[in-house]
Amino acid sequence: MAHNAQPLSLIRVLAGGGALALLLALTLGTVLAVWSKASLQQGLGSADWAAIRFTISQALVSATISVVLAIPTARALARRRFRGRQLMVSLLGAPFILPGIVAVLGIVAVWGRTGYISTLIGTPLNIYGFTGVVLAHVFFNLPLATRFILQGWLSIPTEHFRLSAQLGMTTRDVNRQLERPMLRAVVPGAFLLIFLLCITSFAVALALGGGPRATTVELAIYQALRFDFDLSKAALLAMIQFALCTLTAAATLWIAAPQSFSVGLDRPPRRWDGKERGQIWTDRILLVVVGLFLFVPLVSITVKGMPNLGALPPQVWPALRNSMAIAITSALLAIVLSLALSALIVSLSARWKRGSQLLEVIGFLSLAASPFVIGTGLFIMLNPYIDPFKAALPITIAVNAVMSLPFALRVILPAMSRAEHFYGRLGNSLGMTGWHRFRLAIWPRLKRPVGFAAGLSAALSMGDLGVIALFAPPDMATLPLTMYRLMSAYQTAAASGVALLLIATSLALFWAFDKGGRLDHHTG
């Protein structure tokens, strides 16, 4: 349908091309910078091998546990109706925007040496090291995996469950004929995504790992740069990290083939299998246990933070200012980049399908980028000219924007593609062009997804403890960094007050952006 093709305007090409150039410079350009500094003949020491082994093994175990638990949890949520189900499904989305360092605090409150469980069983547990890292990663990724797999379950057409009921298929038959094919299609993708997230996660490894036996590659890069100031060692580790992430991302793209399940008519899903008493009780117990595992740490953060909100240490306020500035700027940057890229992708798709698909893949590529590889690369690029530690804020803003780009793009691209398809044509036929066409025909359809994406990216950026730890001078911090410093100084009470403040501001930012997108909304 070439007749509705919008002319490929210069502005679109320039804006989209600029966004693309910035993205490539930050993801691949930094890798090249790292590559130039990495001294390969130096080779890997035993500590480096230990870091690689630890990174892979904790990611494998975390992803396996998350997925193995997520399958029955998702099944229980898919086939049971109970009060609070919707609440539970929504809360499963919470860990995604929960700042990593806050989650660690909540997990320590439950599982730590003086935590609820230690008190309950009378012996202090030690979760620092492998156990703690895996525990925290499962806490983050079990909900993600559950939502992923639940989506797979809900994509099985209701007709198929009716058909199974009519044919007299037992719970086991339904499992074999309906559920396993769906799981085969959904689970590998979920597993690889979680594996990737566990490889690149930093806050958890920083707070719960460390030492020769529990250091991830990401953490080793941080230590090489920050404490040993060994740039070539950091570069070598960054190359390894890049290789790990790229391999995982390639496997994800290759294995997670689209499934053949068609989406059923929109009837309220009802099931006729799984009515056996044993099945019902398994589901109930599982939902309660998973619910407690996920929500007790969240509740404990609130309960412990409340009394400390009144007496926050003075360094919190400049940190709060920094965090807000980073979050808002990087969210806006992420939105501008996503809009520019989406516009280019959408207008390319009519004339050069391959090119637009390639752009789309590049847009999602930064999911596989490690913030510390980017950080190390920027450090190497900037070092000859300026003191990188002085540029902590702009660097953090840029890296955070790139890291949240895949999520923003996922929300904005489909919306823009729909808006262009349905209303762009109408605009063309009315002779609307340029800015007015965008303002009147397209933007009203985009406001809502853009607000949501900006909120999401601001919240992610607000809670991020990543490159800022690499670059921040001692007299400067963000809120998550302040919290980490308080925790390392065993000022747990003050840290829990900061945690609550951090959650509150993250949610407030998310709410404000999301609300902004809904204002004056007449588009139904």
Partner: protein
């Protein structure tokens, strides 16, 4: 098999439908009426997917109101999703014999015979995606054929097919139901379909399913609700 709807009362959300009539064995009944009028809901209740809030359903004099779907002597064909996409045509048909697909040699022959009967010999190994829309519905008919239930319910399985193909399907259904004296209920939007296949028609409008009357007589002198639906 005779079907009795005894003061049947259905409710789905805000929507309500009542039905109180009898359908004699071996008839072919069309259910006609406006969209959202409850045609599919009625079939869904007969097949056991929607529990009534009042009244009874009797098949051959036996109260089946509380029976689960698999225990009812019924086959229901949906508009789509009648086949599992990851199973071959043969396997999809075989499910009608053994829901766990552990078929003996004799049963496999029965599946091949059913395939031949709907004109799909040689297509047994194909998956639904490799078959056309009409062929997919033939596979579903083949399964219904070998399930051999005395009541066949069609929830517009041929709505997406062109007129020639649709008539071909209706002929196939007529042939099968007449051979085994099956009672047929079929939802449709097209008066033509009712004329083509159904000797009797049930009008479903305004929350009431009226007792079946001769299709010819009904359309010769349509009541107000039907006139409104037909736009006359």
């Amino acid at each position: 098999m005779t079907i009795i709807l005894d003061n049947l009362h259905l409710r789905v959300g805000d929507f309500e439908l009542t039905a109180d009539f009898e359908i004699a064995e071996g008839h072919k009944i069309a259910l006609i009426g406006p969209s959202g009028g409850g045609k599919s809901t009625l079939l869904s209740a007969l097949a056991g997917f929607t529990a009534p809030v009042g009244g009874r359903i009797l098949f051959g004099g036996v109260d089946i109101t509380k029976l689960p779907p698999a225990k009812r002597p019924v086959t229901l064909l949906f508009q789509d999703h009648n086949l599992f996409p990851h199973l071959s045509a043969e396997q999809n048909i075989g499910l009608g014999l053994r829901p766990n697909l552990k078929l003996e040699a004799a049963q496999k022959q029965v599946v091949q015979d059913a395939l031949a009967r709907v004109g799909l010999s040689g297509h047994g190994r194909k998956r639904p995606a490799q078959l056309s829309g009409g062929q997919q519905q033939r596979v579903a008919i083949a399964r219904a054929l070998l399930r051999d239930k005395p009541v066949l319910l069609l929830d517009e399985p041929f709505a997406a097919l062109g007129p020639a193909l649709k008539h071909e399907m209706l002929d196939l259904v007529a042939e099968i139901t007449e051979a085994s004296n099956t009672t047929l209920l079929m939802v449709t939007h097209q008066p033509d379909d009712a004329h083509y296949l159904a000797d009797q028609t049930v009008l479903i409008a305004g929350g009431i399913a009226t007792a079946p009357v001769s299709t010819k007589a009904l359309f010769a002198d349509p009541p107000i609700a039907l006139q409104r639906y037909l736009g006359e």
